[in-house]
C-alpha cells in the first residue's frame, strides 16, 4: 500500500475535515505513496497549501489535486467533491469490494451504501448535531482525562458498562460528572459512553441494509468504539487500513477519474 511506485505520484488528495486535515499522494495504481495528517487550523487554505507543498516535496512533480471535506472550497484543486462521494471511492479502493461504509469523523457520522463500482448508492448522516460523532467522545474523554491510547484498555477492564442515557455532548458531560460523583467506576463510564454512541450509530447502520460493514474515519482508530459497534450490531466491523485517509484517497482517485 505504501511502497513507492516507479512512475512517481499521479495525484494528490486532500480531505479538509472539521477536526483534521488529511493529505495523500498516490501513484497511477492508486497506491498511497505519502501522507500527512494534522489537526485542522482555522486558516484552512494556508494549511492545505503547506501540506500539499510538503507532499510535492516528498514525491516530486506537480500532480493534480483533488479536494474534499468542508474546507474543500478553500483549496485550489482540479476537482472538489463532497466527502460522501470521496469516502465511498476511497473505501472501495481500500476494501476492493462494495459494502456498507460507516465513516465516523469529527463532526459527521455517515453511513454510505457503496455500490459495485465504488459509487454512492445511498447515504445517511447524523442530524444538525455533533452528538453521535467523534467530537462527542473527544469532549467527554478529555473531561475524564482519558487519553485516546488508553481508551480501549479502560473499556476492556470494565466489569460492566455504566448506563449513560444522554448522547447530547453537553448533557452527557454533566451526566458523566454526576456519575463519577456518585462513585461509579471510570472504566465502566468509559465503556458506557461507547455503548451509548454505538447504539445511536447502529440505528443509522441498520437503515442501510445488509452487506459487509466497513469503517473509516478517525474514530475507527478507537478499538473500544469498534468493539462497541460490533456488539450493538451483532455483526463484524471491518476497519479499513489507514481509515483516516479514505476521504483523501477518494479525492485523489477522483481527480484521476477513477472510482476505485
Amino acid at each position: 500500500m505504501s511502497a513507492a511506485a516507479p512512475g512517481g505520484a499521479a495525484a494528490l488528495g486532500l480531505d479538509a475535515g472539521s477536526t483534521t486535515l488529511k493529505a495523500v499522494a498516490i501513484d497511477a495504481a492508486g497506491r498511497i505513496l505519502a501522507r500527512r495528517v494534522e489537526p485542522s487550523h482555522p486558516r484552512i487554505g494556508e494549511q492545505a497549501e503547506r501540506l500539499l507543498a510538503a507532499l510535492r516535496a516528498e514525491v516530486g512533480g506537480e500532480p493534480p489535486v483533488g479536494a474534499t471535506g468542508y474546507g474543500r472550497k478553500r483549496v485550489a484543486a482540479g476537482r472538489a467533491l463532497t466527502e460522501i462521494t470521496c469516502h465511498a471511492r476511497g473505501a472501495f479502493a481500500l476494501a476492493g469490494r462494495p459494502g456498507v461504509l460507516l465513516d465516523m469523523g469529527g463532526q459527521d457520522t455517515k453511513v454510505i451504501r457503496v455500490g459495485p463500482g465504488g459509487e454512492v448508492q445511498d447515504f445517511a448522516m447524523n442530524d444538525k448535531c455533533a452528538a453521535g460523532t467523534g467530537r462527542f467522545l473527544e469532549v467527554i474523554l478529555a473531561r475524564l482525562h482519558v487519553p485516546l491510547a488508553e481508551v480501549a484498555e479502560q473499556a476492556a477492564r470494565a466489569a460492566r458498562p455504566v448506563t449513560v442515557s444522554s448522547t447530547c455532548t453537553v448533557f452527557a458531560e454533566s451526566e458523566v460528572i454526576s456519575l463519577l460523583a456518585s462513585g461509579e467506576p471510570l472504566e465502566g463510564i468509559v465503556k458506557g459512553l461507547h455503548a451509548a454512541l454505538a447504539s445511536r450509530t447502529a440505528a443509522m447502520v441498520r437503515g442501510a441494509g445488509e452487506g459487509e460493514l466497513l469503517m473509516s474515519g478517525g474514530v475507527a482508530l478507537n478499538a473500544a468504539m469498534v468493539a462497541a459497534l460490533a456488539e450493538a450490531l451483532g455483526r463484524p466491523v471491518r476497519v479499513l487500513p489507514e481509515p483516516q485517509l479514505a476521504g483523501a484517497l477518494g479525492a485523489a482517485l477522483a481527480v484521476l477519474g477513477r472510482s476505485g
Partner: protein, 438 residues
Amino acid sequence: MILRRTQYELARRVVGPTLLRLEAWQKARARSGRGPRGGPFGPPLESTRKLKELLSLHYLAGRYADGAVPVAWVTSGFPVELLRPLGFHAVYPENHAAMCGVQRIVPELSDAVEQQGYSRDLCSYARTDLGSVVTGKTPAGRLPRPDLLCCCTNICQTVLYWYKALAAHFQVPLVLVDTPYVYGEVRAHDLPYVRAQLEELVAVAERVAGRRVDPEELRAVTVRAREGSRLWGECLATSRARPAPWTGFDGFFHMAPIVALRGGEECNAYYRLLRDELQDRVKRGIGGIREERHRLLWDNLPMWFAVRELSTLLAERGFNFACTSYTNAWAEAGVQVDPADPYGSAARAYTHVILNQDLSNRLGILRRLAREYSCDGAVLHSDRSCKPYSIGQVDLRERLARELSVKVLLLDADHSDPRAWAAEPGENRLTAFMESFG
C-alpha cells in the same frame, strides 16, 4: 365607510396600477443596455412581471380594505369560494408569512412572540403571523384588520390554536371547519359533517358581511375557482416535457394567485397568460434551466429564505425539480368543486387535500407525480415547522426508493425560519446527493 371604499377602489384600480407602471418603466430603463440574464437558468418568464403586478395590487388594496369591505383572514386550505360572493377581501397569513420568509425577517418577528412565551417549536408561519400582528411589521406595508377569522384543520391542527390566538387578539368571530382525517377512504358520515359546518360558516359570514349569499354569484365563483385550479394544473403539466419550461422553484412563487386569489377572474387571466407562455417555451425547447440532466420531485413546502441559493446550486449541476407535491395540491383540490353542488363538492374537495390524507394516499400521490413527470430522484424536505407534512417521510423515502428505483434524499430544514437550516451541512448533503447520480 364611503371614504374607505373610495380609497380601496382607487388603490386597486388607479393608484396601484399607475405606481406599478412607473416602477416597471424605471426598472426597464435601468436594465437597458444590459445583456440577458446569465447563469445556469433559462431566460426569465415574461409572466413574472404580471405576477408581481397582481400580487402588489392585492396587497396594496389590502392596506385600505378594512372599513371598506369585509375582511377575512383565512388558512390556505379554507374553502374561500364560499366567502367571495359576500365581497370579502381575503388575507392569507400563510402567504404573507412566506413573503416574510423570502425577505428573511422571520427571526425578528418570531423573537417578538417568543418573548411572549410562544415556543420556537411552533410552526414558523404561526410565529411570523403572530409576530407581525404584535409588531405591526410587514413587507406588505400594512395588513387589514380582520372582521372574520376562517380556519380549516385540513392542513394541520396548529391553525386552530393559532387562529384562536388571533381571535383573542382581534376580538372578532372565528369560524372553524373541522375535516376528519382520511384513512384510506373517506367515511360516509364525514362529508355531511363537513358540509354542515360549511353551511354554518356561511351563516356567520353573512352576518359579518351584512348581506346574503347570492346563489348565482356563488355558482359563478365556483366555476371560476374550478377553472383557476384547472389552469394551474395545466401550467404545472407543461413540466412533463423535457426540458421542463420552468423550475419547480418558479412554481412556488407562481402559485400565489391560486392560493390567495382563487375564485377571481384576475387569477384565471393570469394563469392563461402563464400557461400560454410555458406551452410556447415547450414548443421552442426552452428550459427553466439551461442544461437539464436530471429531474427531481420535491415534497413539502419550500425553504422560502433559500430558494434562490438552492435553485442555483441545483441548476449549476443540471438538476431541476420537475414537480412538487406542494404546488400540485392546488391543482387537485380546486378542480373538484362543482357549481351544481357548491357545499357538498367543497366538503369533498377540502377533506381530500394531501395533508388530510394518510401515508398510503400520500405515497400514491408522490409515486404518480414521479412517474408522470419522469423523475429520477426525489428530495423530501423534512420541515421542522410542518409536522403533518414531514411525519412519515422516512417510510415514504424507503418506499419511493424501492418501488420506483429512484434516489431519495431527506433534507432537514424549515419553510421560513433560517435558524433551523444549517446551510453548510445541508448544501453538502444536497451536493453529495447530486454527485451520487454520477
